[in-house]
């Protein structure tokens, strides 16, 4: 019997159509995997079911009756529990208080602690988990936080449980425990929707998978009927990505990185970047792509780093992440939080990184600044009525061009780009891509983190794939999408072998 079904669900965010007429159905006692690359629309669809986001169009039926949960509390009352990938645990509250934070049981207006304890113990027993109920949230490991989040959802005896990437912070044993919990939920007649990037997990827990691509249904298939490779092909699609130009002939090594290791990681990364090449850095969510980039330029605590950069005479000299940062044009991942001072003018945001070269003895030259602003606005194709307008009035695409072009004035030798086209519409994406290509054509070295496979393959001359265990593998521009997926999925030993053979191949 169909418990939950969604039909023709559409949702647009400014500049991007996240979902177009997506459908999904699940029967009682069924575990349905929801798959797709980043940006395929999985999370949006689940957020609509969980009451976090409201659909523009389409309908959702629960037991045949239409529902439209207005907020997560309403969804919970309907029996839908959404378990987030980032658990929301209050560090100062105990496990017990965190479990009931959304609905404290009371007696005569006071907290009913004995009933809280009893219910908490029952759920944790059921999950087969032991947690100290009096431990404060701040003492919990990432995995324990995830368990608290799951237990909180189960307290309400939900009929539909949605897991959003639940295993990214769990180790093997915890993963197995989660899988057996899901089987129990299934046996109890609940519907489980399971979002993941990890294809092997799909075969372990799911009965059926629904694949989304570019916000549309890309296919639906029983896990008994497909192979691992079929599924990858379904996820990434079989259209060939058109590259706008041939791969560049990379120049000499511009940067040599050996054993770059984040303070909170056990694995080190080693790779080389050449002059005039665009290197795409790609990996699944949680693989640490942004962390690698931020370590490289000293924005994330680094335990170890051996960096060498080519100096003016052509010799390789040792350098530090902070020094590399000063030579780089850095474009952060979140342009509102990390990129712009929104209330300041376009001019102030454009020239902030280059003031040193526009000033004499610390005094900014208005004429030189105006010339630089005009140059950057023209070169970047930034559309703005006046450079004195606050940068907040610009469209997302034009804001991103401001972040990108503030460095153009300095002509940096390195570009460190973190998700340079996130949230941009097709037109703005194309313009940003042209700018990035122009940087490399001018001889700069570009390292670009992106979660978008198409963008990765369109733009990169070479691809570095970061596996979920932190291994780095280099591939040439012509790499197939399904090979990328396999490298990103690979367990540690597999990638070590793969990267060894790659190194051998490159040296030969």
């Amino acid at each position: 019997m169909t418990v939950l079904s969604a039909r023709g669900v559409s949702k647009a965010f400014p500049g991007v159509q996240a979902l177009s007429e997506v459908g999904l159905g699940a029967e009682s006692g069924e575990v349905v995997g929801v798959l797709g690359v980043n940006g395929a629309g999985k999370s949006t669809l689940m957020s609509i079911l969980g009451g976090l986001v409201h659909a523009d169009d389409g309908e959702i039926l629960l037991d045949g009756a239409p529902i439209s949960p207005q907020d997560p509390a309403a969804a919970a009352r309907l029996g839908i529990a959404l378990i987030h990938q980032e658990p929301s645990i209050s560090p100062t509250m105990t496990v017990l208080e965190n479990l009931f934070a959304t609905s404290f049981p009371t007696r005569h207006g006071l907290l009913d602690r004995s009933s809280m304890r009893e219910r908490a113990n029952r759920v944790l027993d059921h999950m087969g988990v032991t947690l100290d109920l009096d431990e404060p949230g701040s003492q919990l490991s990432q995995a324990q936080r995830q368990l608290v989040e799951i237990a909180r959802a189960l307290l309400a005896n939900p009929r539909v449980v949605i897991f959003d990437e639940p295993t990214s912070s769990l180790d093997d044993n915890e993963r197995q425990a989660l899988f057996s919990l899901i089987r129990e939920l299934k046996d109890g007649g609940a519907v489980v929707l399971y979002i993941t990037h990890f294809i092997d997990e799909v075969f372990t827990v799911c009965d059926r998978v629904v694949v989304l691509r570019d916000g549309r249904n890309a296919g639906e298939v029983g896990t008994q009927e497909v192979t691992h490779d079929d599924l990858i092909r379904l996820i990434v699609g079989d259209e060939v990505v058109e590259r706008p130009r041939d791969s560049r002939i990379a120049g000499e090594t511009a940067l040599r990185v050996r054993d770059l290791r984040a303070a909170d990681s056990e694995y080190g990364w080693s790779f080389d970047l050449a002059e005039g090449e665009i290197v795409g850095l790609w990996g699944l969510l949680g693989s640490g792509r942004s962390t690698l980039l931020r370590c490289l330029i000293g924005l994330h605590p680094t335990a170890e780093a051996e960096l060498e950069v080519r100096d003016a005479t052509g010799a390789m000299v040792a350098t530090t992440p902070r020094a590399l940062f000063r030579r780089s044009g850095y474009v952060p991942e979140d342009r509102h939080r990390q990129g712009l001072a929104l209330s300041l003018s376009v001019r102030a945001n454009l020239t902030i990184s280059a003031l040193g070269s526009l000033a004499r003895l610390g005094w900014v030259s208005s004429a030189e600044e105006a010339a630089a602003v005009t140059h950057a606005i023209q070169a970047g194709g930034i559309k703005v009525a006046s450079s004195e307008r606050p940068v907040s009035v610009l469209s997302g695409g034009n804001q991103q061009k401001v972040v990108l072009n503030r460095h153009i004035i300095r002509e940096p030798r390195f570009w460190m780009l973190d998700e340079p086209t996130r949230g941009l519409d097709v037109g703005a994406r194309g313009e940003v891509h042209d700018s990035i290509a122009a940087m490399a054509d001018a001889g700069a070295t570009v390292l670009m983190v992106t979660s978008d496979v198409d963008e990765l393959l369109q733009l990169s001359d070479r691809v570095l794939v970061l596996s979920r265990h932190g291994d780095l593998t280099s591939r040439s521009a012509g790499v197939e999408k399904d090979e990328l997926m396999r490298l990103a999925q690979a367990s540690r030993s597999e990638t070590v072998l793969a990267s060894r053979s790659e190194t051998v191949a490159r040296e030969a």
Binding site: A341, Q378, K383, A385
Partner: protein
């Protein structure tokens, strides 16, 4: 983008901003004309020069406070620092003469500023607590040095600082001088531009390559230095230096001047020039109240209301800017 739209873009004026400023000047001018017509003895040269001199002490500290506020912090310690530097200067002056005394005042201000800046920018401590504790600490040091006594500031110093040149009072000249310098630093220098970016979004400033910690530390040093200058002016005028020069309530006048002058408590907005004008507004308010015979405590009430109204406007402007983004 075509050439014609580009030239249009870069030459277009910023109507809203310019009109807003003009409005302030108009209102200010009308109020002053009204006061001159309605309040007896207000528009005399003697009274106006008194008001400027009275505004200068608080105004100098408000200029420094404005730098700290623009960077997203707050400095509550400046009146206490002002009093300590006045006392230290008066003591040094006794032994080494007026020039050394004046330099000692500036030096003490800078030292307190460096301590505040180190705690906030390097140790990442909360500005409100650091500078509140610094206010108490500095007053404590001051009290134990002086044992509650006041030191005479001899005429060798006070005649110069509290005198006048070509009919213009020296405190007013110092005040106006630092207002201009403060405005130029905030709006025309690299450091000033870094400061606004830091105040609005420190993370973005850091990502863009701004040395955020050094910029923030510099604002506290500037505030301490200007507290030293204010100590010089205020002690010279009083002819004596003691703990009572910088009572705790004076900090409200300092922060209030900045807020009345359009400096945002939320960081990144306003100008040291505005803060200086805010100090003049408070001085005019006190002066007029005195001339019309409004009792002292009623004047305090009025002052409080004006500052509350200004911070209400600040909140309104902040929310509107935030929601537009």
């Amino acid at each position: 983008m075509t050439r014609s739209t580009l030239s249009h873009d870069t030459t277009a004026p910023t109507p809203s901003k310019a009109k807003g400023r003009l409005g302030y000047w108009l209102v200010g001018g009308l109020v002053l004309i009204a006061l001159a017509l309605l309040v007896p003895n207000f528009a005399t040269q003697q009274n106006l020069s008194n008001v400027t001199v009275q505004a200068s002490g608080v105004g100098l500290m408000a200029i420094g406070g404005a730098f700290v506020l623009i960077g997203g912090g707050i400095d509550l310690s400046s009146p206490a620092t002002m009093a300590l530097s006045a006392v230290a200067g008066a003591m040094v002056l006794d032994w080494y003469g007026p020039l050394a005394g004046a330099l000692a005042m500036l030096a003490v201000g800078c030292i307190v500023g460096i301590a505040n800046g180190f705690a906030v920018a390097r140790l990442k401590m909360v500005p409100l607590i650091v500078t509140l504790a610094m206010m108490v600490t500095v007053t404590g040091i001051n009290t134990s040095i002086t044992s509650g006594r006041s030191f005479i500031v001899p005429s060798s110093l006070s005649d110069v600082i509290d005198g006048s040149i070509l009919g213009i009072p020296v405190p007013a000249m110092i005040f106006i001088g630092f207002t201009v310098i403060g405005g130029l630093i905030a709006h025309r220098t690299v450091v000033g531009r870094w400061l606004y970016m830091t105040g609005v979004n420190p993370e973005a400033a850091f990502s863009a390559g701004v040395p955020v910690a050094r910029v923030l530390a510099a604002t506290y040093v500037a505030s301490g230095f200007l507290a030293g200058v204010a100590g010089l002016v205020i002690a010279s005028r009083a002819g004596a230096a003691g703990v009572t020069l910088g009572p705790d309530v004076l900090v409200l006048d300092v922060v209030g001047s900045a807020v009345i002058g359009g400096v945002s408590i939320y960081g990144g907005r306003g100008s040291p020039v505005g803060a200086a004008l805010g100090a003049v507004v408070l001085a005019v308010l006190a002066n007029v109240a005195n001339l019309v015979g409004i009792p002292f405590y009623t004047t305090l009430l009025l002052k409080g209301l004006v500052i509350i109204a200004a911070s209400g406007v600040d909140r309104f402007v902040f929310v509107r800017a935030r929601d537009r983004a």
